[in-house]
């Protein structure tokens, strides 16, 4: 397999409150993320997902263990800028990550920070706004945009810096259905074009689209694999207070009733196909 893009090697982390009390959050976490992967991270509130994602670009440094981004150790202060340029982060609140009073200036913010020459900036901003479908909004003030549009601007601000990996920490959780769908479309397209995606999410339908899912609980990885495998562990996920996609629940229930119906379906379309397949086989006409 290819050289991993992010290597997490046995990291532990704890927050210190008021200089003496410590809250252990991550415990000996290890995994690799390979270039072009679409990894989702799930786990209930407080399990340490955000803490983990803040390690990917060196906002937080592990207490022990190491993280390498494209071979660069996040502990080294002089690599910080390079690492943050390679790994872009989108956060939960659409409103709290836009700094400028018009869209194009906000996209330019990161470019100014890494010292991109002025002559090159316009092309990069055009490219990034186009990639998220926000070109016609470039002169607008952010408070005239919907939540989903703000998140797309936030993504554009990162894309302009030409990162290799996009980390989204519950980036769709404050959005309505339409906003969420727009963001997921953008993310899927970026992934198809080769960008590595790490996405923390509560939406199981998004997890089903990913190539891999990591389940964390109390700061440790409890499951790691393809969504189809993971969603089979219904009992365990239930114990961890996690859902499975509706399609998965449905397939399982029908499977209990009729053994021939496959139990490991995770997409809505698969349910339809399975129903068609079985009905055709049994000579029933559907549709």
């Amino acid at each position: 397999m290819s050289q991993p893009f992010i290597q997490v090697e046995g990291i532990s982390f704890e927050y210190t409150i008021n200089n003496h009390k410590t809250v252990p959050v991550l415990e000996n976490v290890s995994f690799d993320v390979h270039p072009g992967e679409y990894v989702t991270i799930i786990g209930h509130n407080g399990s340490g997902k955000s803490t983990l994602s803040k390690h990917f670009n060196g906002i937080l440094k592990p207490l022990s263990g190491n993280i390498y981004v494209d071979g660069l150790n996040t502990r080294e202060a002089n690599l910080q800028r390079e690492i943050r340029q390679k790994v872009g982060m989108v956060f939960q609140h659409p409103d709290n990550q836009i700094v400028a009073t018009i869209v194009e200036d906000d996209v330019a913010f990161g470019l100014e920070n890494i010292g991109v020459p002025s002559s090159e900036m316009k092309a990069r901003i055009d490219f990034a706004l186009d990639a998220v479908g926000m070109s016609e909004f470039r002169k607008r003030p952010p408070h005239h945009l919907s939540g989903g549009q703000k998140q797309r601007v936030a993504i554009a601000g990162i894309l302009a810096m030409k990162p290799d990996c996009l980390v989204l920490d519950e980036a769709t959780s404050m959005l309505d259905t339409y906003g969420r769908r727009d963001i997921l479309d953008v993310v899927r397209r970026l992934n198809n074009d080769g960008m590595t995606i790490v996405s923390v999410t509560h939406h199981m339908s998004e997890v089903a689209e990913a190539s891999r899912v990591i389940v964390i609980e109390k700061g440790q990885i409890v499951l790691d694999g393809a969504p189809r495998e993971i969603f089979q562990q219904y009992e365990l996920l239930h114990q961890l207070q996690l859902d499975v996609p509706l399609a998965s629940q449905l397939a399982r229930l029908v499977h209990e009733y009729d053994n021939e119906f496959q139990a490991d379906l995770i997409h809505n379309e698969e349910i339809i196909q399975e129903v068609m397949r079985l009905s055709a086989k049994r000579g029933v006409y559907v549709g």
Binding site: T101, E104, I158
Partner: protein, 284 residues
């Protein structure tokens, strides 16, 4: 309970900051740096000029700027309206208590401690005129220049100060972020007021002179608003750091302005106008 008209809470509607009115006029297209510079010069001229004729000329000029920028003068007047009580109070105070400073000229009234002279009358009228001129001028500036252009303009005008270690970019960034978050907080406050009102709190129901009561009304909003602001600030810092922001480090600049001949002409005109206002011996 009193019926509450919903518009009392629609703070976002009343925000005038950055009330940009694009008409594409010559003034709109001016280089914002030059525009700010010209504005500053004119404001200083108006603040110093103390003759009747000078101030009437200045007021006429301010009105002409509305015409030039194709902005209805009603925008300027609506800026003056809330200032009228202040102008009046100031006028009365000046008339009663400034006679020692302006004791020259003909004496109109000399009754007990009240001394009204032609000089003090002039002071009152000129002050009122100045007020209106400066409000007009500021209105033209903010209506013809987007907040983004203003902050960019301030930043590049101040850039030379970097040599004396003044954190120019940080300063501009603070202004930008403040402006950026005004609508956000207004919206937040609106939500909180509605939430409180739905639990029976009353806002703005006391008469306007009961300042203490009205201030107390706002307390239940201030603390949560402060909390929200802190949380937002923390988030914002994270987002900025994630985008490679390091205070004090060298950055490149996206928006660059290039002044045209027209801009220099306009600036020159403003300088000449100032000289005229201040140096010409107007009879009144």
């Amino acid at each position: 309970m009193r019926e509450i008209a919903s518009f009392e809470f629609e703070l976002t509607r009343n925000i005038t900051i950055g009330q940009y009115l694009p008409t594409g006029s010559l003034i709109h297209r001016m280089d914002p740096r030059i525009k700010l510079l010209a504005f500053t010069i004119l404001v200083i001229a108006m603040a110093i000029c103390d003759t009747y004729v000078g101030n009437i000329i200045a007021l006429a000029f301010a009105c002409y700027l509305f015409y030039m920028s194709r902005i209805p003068i009603s925008y300027g007047l609506s800026g003056v309206k809330p200032a009228v009580p202040f102008i009046l109070i100031l006028a009365v105070l000046q008339l009663l208590f400034y006679s020692e400073i302006a004791s020259g000229g003909t004496v109109f009234v000399d009754y007990g401690f009240i001394l009204i002279t032609s000089d003090s009358v002039r002071l009152v009228i000129v002050s009122a005129l100045r007020f209106i001129e400066i409000i007009f001028l500021s209105s033209v500036l903010t209506l013809s220049t987007s907040t983004t252009q203003i902050t960019h303009g301030i930043e590049s005008l101040l850039r030379p100060l970097k040599h004396v270690k003044f954190p120019v970019h940080e300063f501009a960034l603070i202004i930008t972020i403040a402006i950026r978050f005004v609508p956000t907080f207004a919206m937040e406050m609106e939500k909180m007021m509605k939430a409180q009102a739905s639990r029976g709190a009353e806002f703005g129901t006391g008469a306007w002179w009961r300042i203490i009561q009205r201030t107390k009304d706002v307390f239940p909003i201030i603390i949560p608003l402060f909390n929200v602001a802190m949380a937002r600030a923390e988030d914002l810092v994270l987002a900025m750091e994630s985008r490679c922001y390091t205070p004090g480090s060298e950055r490149s600049i996206y928006t660059k302005y290039k002044a045209q001949n027209m801009d220099y002409m306009a600036l020159l005109f403003c300088v000449l106008f100032t000289v005229l206002l201040l140096a010409f011996p107007f009879p009144y």
